[in-house]
Symmetry: C2
C-alpha cells in the first residue's frame, strides 16, 4: 500500500488524507505540533524542521513526500529529496515561498504584477518608496500567510516604523494596485506532465484572510479565465511542477495582475470537494503519484464560506438545505480558520439564496455585500 | 469533541469515518479483527463480542454507539446500551438481523413478501416444502450475508442435504418468487423523528453478491418508488428507528415484494457519496446525533460497480473521466468486496457510455447485460 508523507498536518493535510483514503493510500504526517488536525485521522510524527534524524525516520516510512504547508524550510525538503521523491520539487517550493522570486517568475513569464522592489535595508526601502510611491505594502519575502508578516505604508512616517518592525529579514515592497476583484486559478500537473485546470474562482478577503470563494467566477469560460489558465500552465512548466498550484490574481479594467502563488492545495479550492468533478485534494494526490488526473469541471455554482475565529452551531449550518460542513477539529482562537461551509446549487440565483441563509448563521460581512 | 463508537470496522465503518471527520467528529471502532480497514484511519479496539470488560472500556470512551455490521450480537448491543446511547436500538437490530422477524414485520406493515415459514427441525422443513413448494431457499435466520448461510432446494433430494448442512440453527424457508428486477430503498430517521429518503436504487446481484447499483432507478418518482418509501417510513416508525435503514425489494408485474432489510448503511447506497446531495454515511451520523438530515436528491444519474475478488489497475479506472474510485484497503480474496467505482453523469445515456468504459476494465458480467 502506497504511503504518502505530508509535511504539515493542518486542515489541508486532513483534507488530503480524506481524499486519499478512498484511493487506498495511507498517510504519515510530519509537523512541529504534536496535536495538529491531521493527527486525528492518520499517523503524525512531530519534530522540528531542522531535526535531521526525525526527517530521516519519516522519509524511511513513506513512498513519496508532499506538503500541505508552504513554509516548510527548503533545507528540510531538500534533505528529504535525497532519500525519497518530493513533489512539488524543493526548487518549486523555494520560488513559491519567496515573494520576490515568485513576482520575478510572473514577470519572466510575461505576466503583469504590482510594482515591486527587493528591500534589505532602510536605504533600499527609501529608494523603493521613492520609485513605487505610497500607499504600498512592506512584506517579508518568506513565512507570511493570512496577512501576517506585512505592514501597510500610507504616510512617510510609516516607512521607518515598518522597517523597524519587519527589518532584519529579506523584504519586498509592493505598490498598491486598484482592483475590481480578486480571483484565483487552481491547476494541477502530474508526474506524467498531464495538466488540469479548475474553473476561475472569485475570492473576498478581509483583514488579509480569505472569507468567501465562489466558482465558477463570473467571466469563467471567457478570455480572462483563459489568460489565468495560460499563466498557471506556464508556471507549471517553468517550475517542472508536480501537484496542485494556486495563483491569486487581481482583476482591474479587464486585465489580470498576478499577486502570489501557493505551492499546494489552497483555501480558494475547497469548494472543489463538492463543487467539481474531482477535488483539488484528490488531483494533488493523483499528480504526485503519476496517476491520470480527474475531470475538473464544476458540477454547479459553488460557494465556500470560511468559519473564522469561532464555529457557529453546527445544527444551524446543517439545517441549510444543501450545505456541506467541514470542521477542522481545531480549538477556537481569534482569526483562526476553524472550518468552512460549501454550497453547490444548479443556478447562481439559488446559490445566492443559499448564501443568504448562511449569512443568517455566520457573522461574516463578506456575505452581505 | 463528540466521539462516535462504531461496532464493526469494515469498509462501511471506514466510509462512516470519512463522512464524519468533516463534521468534526472522532471515531473509535470495535471489531474482532485487529487489522480491519477502518483501523487505518481511526482508533480500533479489538475484542470478542462477548468480552464484557472490553465492551465496557469501549463504551466509556465514546459518546454514542452505532453499527456498521448487522451481525453484532444483540447481547453486546444491549450491554453497551446500559452505559451509552446505542442507535439503532438493540431491538431494531434484533428484528433486522433475524430473517423471520423482518419478514413478519414486513407482513405486519401490510407489505408483500415471498412465502416463508420458520424451520427448526426436519419435520418443519418437510411441512414448509409441502406448503411453499420447490424451488425454495433455506436460510439461517441470522448471520447470513453476501449469499452465505443459505442453500437452494431444487429437488426433493436437496431437502435432506440442506437441513444436514444448515440445521441446528433457527432457519427460514423462503419460496422463490419470479421478479423483473431488484431494487432498494434507503431511508434515514434522526433522533428528532425527522426522516429522509433517497431515490430508488436498482441492483444487480450475482452469486448472492451485489455487483451493480444504479440510481435513480427507472420509475423513480412514480408510484413504485412512493410505495417503497412508504414501506421504509412505516418500518422506521414501527422500530422507533434511528440511523440509515436499507430495504431490498423485488419488483414483479409492477408490484413490490419486500425481501430483507439492513439496519445500517448499505452497499446499494454507496453511490450517494458522489451522486446525492448528502451521502448515506453523513446522514447516518447526523441521525444518530440528532442533527438535521441533509438533502437526499440525486445530483445526476449514478452507477456503482463493486470491485470483487481482485482490484483492477487503479490507473485504468482513474483514466475514465468522472470515475470515483473507492478502495477499502483490504487484502484480495475471491468473493471479497475490495472497493467500488462510482460514476455520476448528467444523463442516462452518458452514464451508460461511462459504464461501458468501466466494463472494459472491470471483469463484471453484470455490466454487459
Amino acid at each position: 500500500m502506497t504511503v504518502i508523507g505530508v509535511l504539515g498536518a493542518g486542515q489541508l493535510g486532513r483534507m488530503l488524507a480524506l481524499a486519499g483514503y478512498p484511493l487506498g493510500l495511507r498517510f504519515v504526517f510530519f509537523d512541529e505540533s504534536a496535536d495538529a488536525p491531521a493527527g486525528h485521522l492518520a499517523d503524525l510524527r512531530s519534530g522540528r524542521w531542522d531535526d535531521a534524524s526525525a526527517l530521516q525516520a519519516f522519509a524511511d516510512e513513506v513512498d513519496v513526500v508532499t506538503y500541505e504547508f508552504e513554509n516548510v524550510p527548503v533545507a528540510a525538503a531538500s534533505r528529504l529529496a535525497e532519500r525519497v521523491p518530493v513533489f512539488p520539487s524543493p526548487r518549486a517550493l523555494e520560488v513559491a515561498q519567496d515573494r520576490l522570486k515568485e513576482k520575478q517568475l510572473f514577470r519572466d513569464l510575461g505576466f503583469g504584477t504590482a510594482p515591486f522592489a527587493a528591500v534589505e535595508s532602510q536605504d533600499d526601502l527609501d529608494r523603493a518608496v521613492a520609485s513605487i510611491g505610497l500607499p504600498a505594502v512592506l512584506k517579508t519575502r518568506t513565512q507570511g500567510y493570512d496577512g501576517k508578516g506585512q505592514r501597510v505604508l500610507r504616510r512617510r512616517d510609516d516607512v521607518l516604523s515598518a522597517f523597524a518592525s519587519l527589518g532584519g529579514r529579506p523584504l519586498i515592497l509592493e505598490g498598491f494596485v486598484p482592483f475590481r476583484r480578486e480571483v484565483s486559478i487552481l491547476a494541477a500537473r502530474s508526474r506524467t506532465g498531464e495538466t488540469a485546470f479548475w474553473p476561475l474562482v472569485e475570492n473576498v478577503h478581509r483583514d488579509g484572510i480569505l472569507r468567501l470563494s465562489t466558482a465558477p467566477a463570473e467571466g469563467n469560460g471567457g478570455a480572462l479565465a483563459e489568460e489565468a489558465s495560460a499563466l498557471a500552465g506556464r508556471a507549471l512548466e517553468a517550475l517542472d511542477y508536480v501537484g496542485v498550484l494556486a495563483i491569486e490574481l487581481f482583476e482591474h479594467d479587464g486585465k489580470l495582475l498576478a499577486n502570489e502563488m501557493a505551492p499546494r492545495v489552497h483555501n480558494s479550492g475547497h469548494w472543489t470537494i463538492e463543487g467539481a468533478r474531482t477535488s483539488q485534494f484528490e488531483n494533488h494526490l493523483r499528480a504526485v503519484l503519476g496517476l491520470p488526473l480527474g475531470a475538473t469541471q464544476a458540477t454547479g455554482f459553488a460557494a465556500m464560506v470560511n468559519l473564522i475565529g469561532e464555529t457557529p452551531d453546527p445544527a444551524a449550518l446543517l439545517e441549510i438545505e444543501g450545505s456541506h460542513l467541514h470542521l477542522y477539529g481545531k480549538p477556537a482562537r481569534p482569526g483562526r480558520k476553524l472550518g468552512h461551509v460549501t454550497l453547490v446549487e444548479p443556478t447562481r440565483a439559488l446559490l445566492d439564496a443559499a448564501l443568504g441563509r448562511v449569512a443568517s448563521v455566520v457573522d461574516e460581512p463578506a456575505l452581505s455585500r
